[in-house]
Amino acid sequence: MKIFKKTTQIDFLKYKWIALGVTFAIILAGILNITLGKGLKMGVDFGEGTLIRVQFKDPVSVSAIRKLLSDVGLGKSIIQETGKEGREFQIRTVETRSTKQQEQELESHQILANKVIEALKSKDDQQRAAQGLIDLNNIDHKALTAFLAQAFPDKSEELAGRIIDYRTKHGLIIDLNQLKQDPEVNLPDEVLNFLQKKTFLGQMTVLSKETVGPQAGKELRKKATQAVIWSLVAMLVYIAFRFKGVEYGASAIITLFQDVLIALSIYSFTNREINLPIIAAMLTIVGYSINDTIVVFDRIRELKKTMRREPLEKIMNTSININLTRTIFTAGTTFLAVLSLFLFGGKVINDFAFIMLIGSLEGVYSTIFMSCPVVLFWNSLFKNKKFRK
């Protein structure tokens, strides 16, 4: 089976000016947006605030959460709904607290995070907690074991395990009776009665909480920069080693930077933040996208021998066309995999999947429309005489 009956004869290089224009437009818009507009949003990994993921028992709206946070002076926090019928949210604190001592900075992030968590707990829950009741939706295994040991010393460990397993599976316990009805938990009545008297089911639970202090954030920033610089150096060494002609090497490098810039530009228009996995994705894109370019260039070198009399532009077009199926398909299978990660992989990995999606599409574009024109431009700039016969 073949998608293209014969090898295609599309004159891609005819569109080189348009392609160049599009590339420049995207990158220019991106750079303007990054420098003058919204900018790139650095995430918790780089020492910015605390990221808290919470789940509610009943659906809540973003505006209701914002109201609660405004009441404690944290209204600027970034609030995002992350699925499950308005019950899961991601909140990132942005306000920074001035502290006297530098050393206390991580703690200052955490004071804010704790304020957020306190604010989100309902008044009822707070009152019940003040009365000494235990919040069954927020207690950990160890503490629950100790608590149950008061009444059921012999089997507290095992009972706690069953309750926590149920909670882990469902996120939150909505109704105590579920603990009896669910065949896997099947709590005996006396335990249920004990829980009914001594515990309550909190409105909200914290799914995760991440804080990186400014000092560690600075170090992660440094490490990320080092990883980027060293991979780029490695790529350059590889390119220098792999390509004979300087114009091809230069084009590969320009294409590579263009890959990064386009991905970043598009990313800057979303509300997504830059964290370590995003850096990892960018480096993967760089390593992945350069291959197609290499293959096309290899083909050009091969064809230059057999198509001696043809102009370089024609040779390039033929090379791109011969490789078209594989350029599209190799990127296509990766795109398929990343797309399923984007659609089904969950919120935590969504940003990563998103930038990989851009990267895998963009790699095809840069191979077809960017790599060869750059060689031509390079030649017309630096090798005028040689090519104008």
Binding site: L106, K142, L207, A224, R242, T330, F335, G346
Partner: protein, 511 residues
Amino acid sequence: MKKNLRWKLIIILAVIGLCIFLIYPPQNKIKLGLDLKGGTHLLLQVMTEDAINAETDQQIARFEDVFKKNNITYTQAAKEKPGRFFVAGVNPDQEGKIRDLVDQYTRDWDYTFTGDKIIFTLKQVAAQFLREQAVTQTLETIRNRIDQFGVAEPVIQKQGSDRIVVELPGIDDPERVKNLIKVTAVLEFKLVKAGPLPDEQALLQEFGGKVPEDVEIVKGDPKRGHQGFYLVNKVAAITGKDLRTVRRGVDEWNNPAVHFTLTAEGARRFEQVTGQNVGKQLAIILDGKLQSAPVINSRISDSGIIQGRFTPEEADDLVVILKAGALPAGIKYLEERTVGPSLGSDSIRQGLIAGLVAIFAVMAFMVFYYQLSGLNAIIALILNELIIFGAMGYFKATFTLPGIAGIILGIGMAVDANILIFERIKEELALGKNVASAINTGFSRAFSAIFDSNLTTILSAIFLFQFGTGPIKGYAVTLICGLVANLFTAVFVSRFIFDLTVPMNAKRLSI
């Protein structure tokens, strides 16, 4: 079957067997990262400067002692900064004697005479040793505390020169453990001279507003129900180092309390102090805060009790830190990441779904477009996944959420090699070559492109591994494993399947 095919088959079966052995049973061999199983990750810094500071203070005290014993006169001995102190007002005639004494007592300090002043500076090597020792001791102390507290499979590791990583699976409310790790836990028993009084001035009134020499002021710990200030002896009767055993118990009113017994040496000193001071108060001080100040009713020798309105948890935690000992230096938290178990299990489930969808989508595409040859690619892909898991089992690598992403990405990348080969074979067939030689040329021509493409991606991943932290390392590992395995599966295994299934004189190839 041809002889070389038989060998290839043996190699392939051996690899399959090895990988299954390495990963079976998966629940034992697969280590999940904290982002998947839930738990708390802490990065902390040891304030190694504290150790230098303490050493400087001790050294000053030691020299003052030595100088006094040897009749060396001086007016002042004071610290300039950690690792540097001076002794001023010495008699220059005694320089020779002082040099002999100092050389005899320490080799860790450089010293210079300038007039009547001697400046001591801690040698670089000695400072370095102290810092390293402080980190090692802190790590051991934290390990002891966490072991006492009881966390299953904690990870406590040194990172860089003065960092410690603590990973606590299953702890999703880290406040209690964080406090447990952070307290310095210096326990001291000191005789009370005066107090309690509500403020410091009142306390000092009878001493003319100045703190007398060998005493100091401590504040009561409000959490233990002590509001005021106390004046206590500077020298401790006994310290936490003199404890032999510690356990939780109750006091005479059945409130949680901590019982302890003393070492022989500690008991001797305790007996002496309590015997001479019956009727006086003895302050029990933890990290500079007074916990309780019981009256000494009679001579006590080798055991005692610490009270202080503890909750059961607080009493437990006190036992833990007293057993584990004091930290040699303060610590500071730099990073805290806590993931609850339900988010972790969500991530696993979603990762699994995404992975299955990805693998089926890619398989469907390959079979749809390359037909029977696509089936060949699918076998190679499955084997590729098996090798990734085998390698992860062998390296005892940890699966993290980005690691799962790396595997899913790898699914898409793995068939790239097959596509390169198949497209090349198609090209060769289109040129009119026969099936066998098309396959042959396809594989050999495509190899350099496959090698190139895997190499560049592996290069990026290596730097990610080098500079990345936990989860990113997990990503780099799965990506590298996948790409290396890919060279074996897409080139070696896939070729083997062609050789096995396509006859030498085949007229058609399903591709």
